[in-house]
Amino acid sequence: MERSKGKIATREFIAIVILTIGAKMTDDTPAILYEKFSNAAWMAIIIIGIFSVIPIWLLINVFNTYKEKNLIEIVLYLLGKPFGYFVLFCLLVIGSVAITIDSSIYTDIVGTMYFTETPTIVLYAILMATCAFGAKRGLEQIGSFAWSILLWIKLSLFLALLLTFFQGKLDFIFPLFGRGVDEIMHGGISNLSICADFLFLTLIVPFAVNHAEFKKAIWISLCIVTVELAIALIAFVALFDYEPVKMLNYPFHEAIRYIRLEFLPNIEALFFPFWLLALFIRFSFYLYLIALLFGGLFKIKDFEYLIPSLATLFVLLGVIPENPTFSIFHFRDPFLKIVTPVFLLLPCLLWVMSKIKGDIKV
């Protein structure tokens, strides 16, 4: 008989990462990418994926050196008390802003695409209440939940992308490099923060069953997520062409409205529940991470009890922008730019400090 210890295994971990980061293709991330890279957005995401390897590799290296320590303890150890706390506080702020923006966007998607008459605050409250319920159950439960529905979500996504490809024109991806290779490389690096979630993922290192597994899980999920996003970006361009796709805020939801399945003309409600499930996973996990960071920063041992109040706070913050479709869109782009250096520099800084302290041997 096994007494569970709140640890999660590789497959649950991969399931969480794929669902949380993979869900980005369904929000306005594609819109941001299309705006910059036109039809070469899919290449940009691959560039982003490749460049993300560096900070992630450094992070993993640091974590390998300090087994049994989580991000909070490592930052405090390597950067010293006052500066370390400052960095962690910045991370907490970034995380909180990210979750507020994201949840606001997703609520906006539900509100504008599916439930136009329901008040935003109600939709928001349901989203956060469900996620708070899930997050409070603990990481192991979020992992199990993610794993048990992963297959169904991916099947529905596969069907959606397949239909999109069938009904689109693959010729639309040409010219292959969009506005040019320089643009892709440069823009790709400055938008690296799309993969910044991986930095936050390291918060749960101590909950992984073992380090080798964790490393494997990170690489596997980075590959899957990058490929998945790239395919989706190609699919949207193939369906809409590059000019119209720029005008769409939420290409995924427009796409599933556009496609049809034989005798069923409108099948978006077929994909909607699966997308929602991914959404619930995503925000349960983010809530858990923020609570974990918050608890670590302010030395609160039973941080699970923070989750309901944090969720309430995010709802209140998230309903402030009156027209999220536009305001958040314009807020998010600079935010991604600000986060990018943090995502690039913090791992480097940690690695260098660790090197100086002589803990890492190459």
């Binding site: 295994a9 649950e12 349901i126 603990g138 939940f145 409600a269 929602l276």
Partner: protein
Amino acid sequence: MYSLLKKMINRKQQAPTPFIEKSSKEDITLKKQCITDKLNKTVDIFSHIYSVGKNNDVIFRKFHVQALKKDAALLFINTITDTDHIEEYILKSIQQYSGTSQKVEDIVTTPGIKKVQVIEDVIIEINKGNAALFIDGESVAYILSVSNFQGRGIEKAENEVVVKGPKEAFNEKANTNISLIRKKIKTESLVVESVTVSKRSKNEVYILYLKDIVNEELLSDVKERLCMSDVDSIQNLSMLEQRIEDSTKSLFPTILYTERPDRASSFLEDGYIVLLMDNSPASLVLPATFWSFFHTSEDHYLRFLYGNFTRALRLLAMFITLLISALYIAITNYHAEMLPPDLLLAISSTREIVAFPAVVEVFLMEFAFELIKEAGLRVPSPIGPTIGIVGALILGQAAVQANLVSPIVVIVVALGGLTSFAIGDLALNFAVRLSRFFLIISASLFGLYGLTAMFSIGLFYLVSLRSFGVPYLAPMTPKYTSGKDTLFRRLIFHEMFRPGYLKPQDMKKAGEVSDGKKQG
């Protein structure tokens, strides 16, 4: 106003009056004493305890033992003893004894005999249907096993019916049930321990396990929980289940209740623990995961493909039961554009003349269906067919003709109700039927959004459930080495391991056989 309210509350608080209880201290001290060597005194004590004379079936038979040249008395309750045995093995053999031995063990010929000194212990044995033999001048009682409780014989399983496979079911005698299990597991490592779980009725629970497979920690946890209850009586396993399960208010069951000895034995062989009790035509299997409720024994008796086909059907049935009414409400009220136009028009034309909103319609029919189910279960069998007629004609056809509900709602609810019968396990059936109502309510409030949110909450709840420390969805998630028998089962040759979440002492239950080899 406020003070009035306060007064009312205060009045309520004053209400409790002390119970008037009679002290049984005297009786308890009496029962703790040892038996004296004076036969007359012993007879008096036991006559007092058992109210002999008033108590119709308690027999105190006094006689003279020629071989010992002493007076003796035999005490037993004749409704729970085998009187033929008493006559044959005790009374006759004592009277006809011609040997020289002075030992009671040599004179009496019953198979089981033991000596007991404390009055309390004698009482326990007599209450179990044994006879107590007191002999003048000896300060012990000889307990002779002659018990014979009345009960029915072994019959066919009624609730877990299989087409292919053993038909016999447990009955209300624990001894018979143990014998049925021993018939299937012929090994000396099968241990049957007994624990007394109640104080007044002295109900006994039999703990069955394979001592070289079961996890010791699990076993001691189970024993601890069994001993925890401080209660006068626990009549049967259904009552026991509620006392030892992990979360009593949980919607989903965490202990399996099965009436099939073959099922109980196969769980035993996998390292689970089985509980048996008198008066229960079933066994409790623990720990239980979601899959143990979802499976039936026939899944394994049928060939690989047939078995998995029934599993697929059952899974589909479970989701239909759970979701169909809720989906109907969500789609017709919130996502009507999803339906093909022709179907939408067909639905709306039948709904045109119905006075109620779709939600009320569905609730009305669901409620009616649940009523038919419950009433059909309780109705005396001679008037059973009436229920069918009433259900089908009045609630189905007439309700539609009276424009109370639309025909499509009847179809939806009937389909949901029908598929719910595909879930064989009673507890899981209840869990699914009840959670359906939560889903219907959330779907009627927020369409697919509410439905999915409620479903997620349910799934979160499900994955956080534990049965004796075992995660509810194991071994699917979290992963454990096992026979991988979850939604679908594997080929029987590939089920090589016992479930890893039980931490059995011996993991492997079969050797490797390659496909080529077994096909010969």
